[in-house]
């Protein structure tokens, strides 16, 4: 999934990665990829994890992991950082999801009745990034569909997701619902249909 998500990234673009699966995407990019990773805690030009022993406690990403900064990177305060996000200056956000609705609704911050986890930067990113791509397993651990006709979990943002990349397929959100763009190797369309909680178009 991370390897497929890496193909979504165009040269020269500014990309924000959500916590979890999306953080694996950079491993699948060539070293000269000319991609600028934005981290909403105030960093543009985020590089790979530091060499063992080179960690800087004051240089972290939004998941509080120690990171590095590439040549040409910059640091700034949170007001400027979210100005970039809300203002449409982040070309692509690759986010995780709990549910994606057939209309592009995204739910990725709270489970009804579950522990309150907090919103963080998720709503700003889902609203503000020019393109939102979701990377997620096709179903939950309990086998429930995560791609649904209508989200039942609290929304992060309405109608924001352009594409969903799962372990089974790549699906575009169209005006009529989910459309399969690609199937993962060895996966049949029928399987995707069965595991999706909405009609495929």
């Amino acid at each position: 999934m991370a390897a497929r998500a890496a193909l979504e990234i165009e040269p020269g673009s500014v990309v924000n990665l959500g916590i979890g699966l999306p953080t694996l995407v950079p491993d699948h990019l060539p070293s000269d990829a000319d991609v600028w990773f934005h981290s909403e805690n105030g960093l543009l030009g985020m590089g790979p994890f530091p060499w063992d022993g080179d960690e800087d406690p004051q240089l972290i990403n939004a998941g509080k992991q120690t990171v590095t900064v590439v040549p040409g990177g910059s640091t700034f305060d949170s007001a400027a950082s979210f100005g970039m996000i809300r203002g449409g200056h982040v070309d692509l956000a690759i986010l995780g999801a709990m549910q994606v609705g057939a209309n592009g609704d995204l739910a990725n911050w709270a489970i009804p009745g579950g522990r309150v986890m907090g919103i963080g930067g998720a709503m700003d990113l889902a609203n503000g990034a020019r393109r939102v791509v979701v990377v997620t397993r096709h179903v939950t651990k309990d086998g429930e569909p995560k791609l649904v006709a209508a989200c039942t979990y609290p929304l992060t943002a309405p109608r924001c997701v352009a594409r969903v990349i799962t372990d089974l397929a790549v699906l575009d959100v169209t005006s009529r619902g989910f459309a399969v763009a690609e199937l993962a190797p060895g996966v049949a369309l029928e399987e995707v249909r069965e595991q999706t909680g909405a009609t495929l178009v």
Binding site: E40, G53, S78, R115, D124, L155
Partner: protein, 237 residues
């Protein structure tokens, strides 16, 4: 008016007028960029019923987790809880009111208070629980929510260097909420790793101009804990 002499010798002196019921901004993103000595100093003062405004309220029993553990916070305004055990416990025990705000809206509300903007319209939160009870207005064809400025009595800020006027530089991602908070508090207190002379920071390189800073205390040693140590293994090591 700002006091003429801003540098104080001790943390206790810096916090001398922080009292019960105060609202307090604390800069930092999780444990990154915390004013560690000021955070400890507030516990030592024995104040209570604080309103804490900070992105995360500490983690791993460190930083602002101490405030939650000793029970001096009545209300927390922040954006994220996640695996913060002390925060989950305080909430479950009913000891703590919690208001969760989207991170970008939180810092923009603070920036607005510091910049004399009463309120603003943002698209963030439209169509979600954040919208509840708020005015929605269509601007340029897109729905926006009305969000209000958020100020506090105190801001506790960590800086890499400061000069006697209060000009400040931060290091890397330790900047985060601190500059905005410094502008929006009645009393802004800076804990700096190192004091430098007036003029040691080039005018073009000041991250936070000194007019926003009321008190400065130099604290040379910090723990600076790391929440998630992620590294690449050295080849052949």
């Amino acid at each position: 008016m700002k006091p003429r002499r801003k540098i104080v010798d001790t943390v206790d002196e810096a916090l001398a007028d922080l009292s019960d019921g105060a609202s307090v901004f604390v800069g930092g993103f999780g444990l990154c960029g915390n004013a560690e000595a000021l955070i400890d100093g507030v516990v030592r003062r024995g104040v209570r019923d604080l309103t804490l405004i900070s992105n995360n309220a500490g983690n791993l029993g460190k930083g602002l987790n101490r405030w939650l553990e000793v029970g001096i916070v009545r209300r927390f305004v922040g954006s994220y809880i996640g695996s913060n055990a002390a925060l989950h416990e305080a909430m479950a025990a009913g000891r703590l009111e919690v208001e969760i705000v989207p991170q970008g809206t939180l810092v923009e509300r603070i920036r607005a208070a510091g910049a004399g903007i009463g309120a603003f319209y943002t698209p963030t939160g439209v169509g979600t629980v954040v919208q509840e009870g708020k005015e929605v207005r269509e601007i340029a064809g897109r729905p926006h929510l009305l969000e209000h400025a958020l100020s506090a009595d105190f801001a506790l800020i960590r800086a890499r260097v400061a000069d006697p006027f209060g000009n400040v530089r931060f290091w890397r991602t330790a900047r985060n909420f601190s500059p905005a908070m410094a502008t929006a508090a009645t009393h802004t207190i800076v804990e700096c790793d190192s004091l430098v002379e007036l003029g040691a920071i080039d005018p073009d390189d000041v991250h936070l101009p000194g007019l926003f800073v009321d008190r400065i205390v130099e604290v040379r040693e910090h723990e600076d804990p790391i929440e998630h140590r992620t590294v690449r293994k050295r080849v052949g090591a």
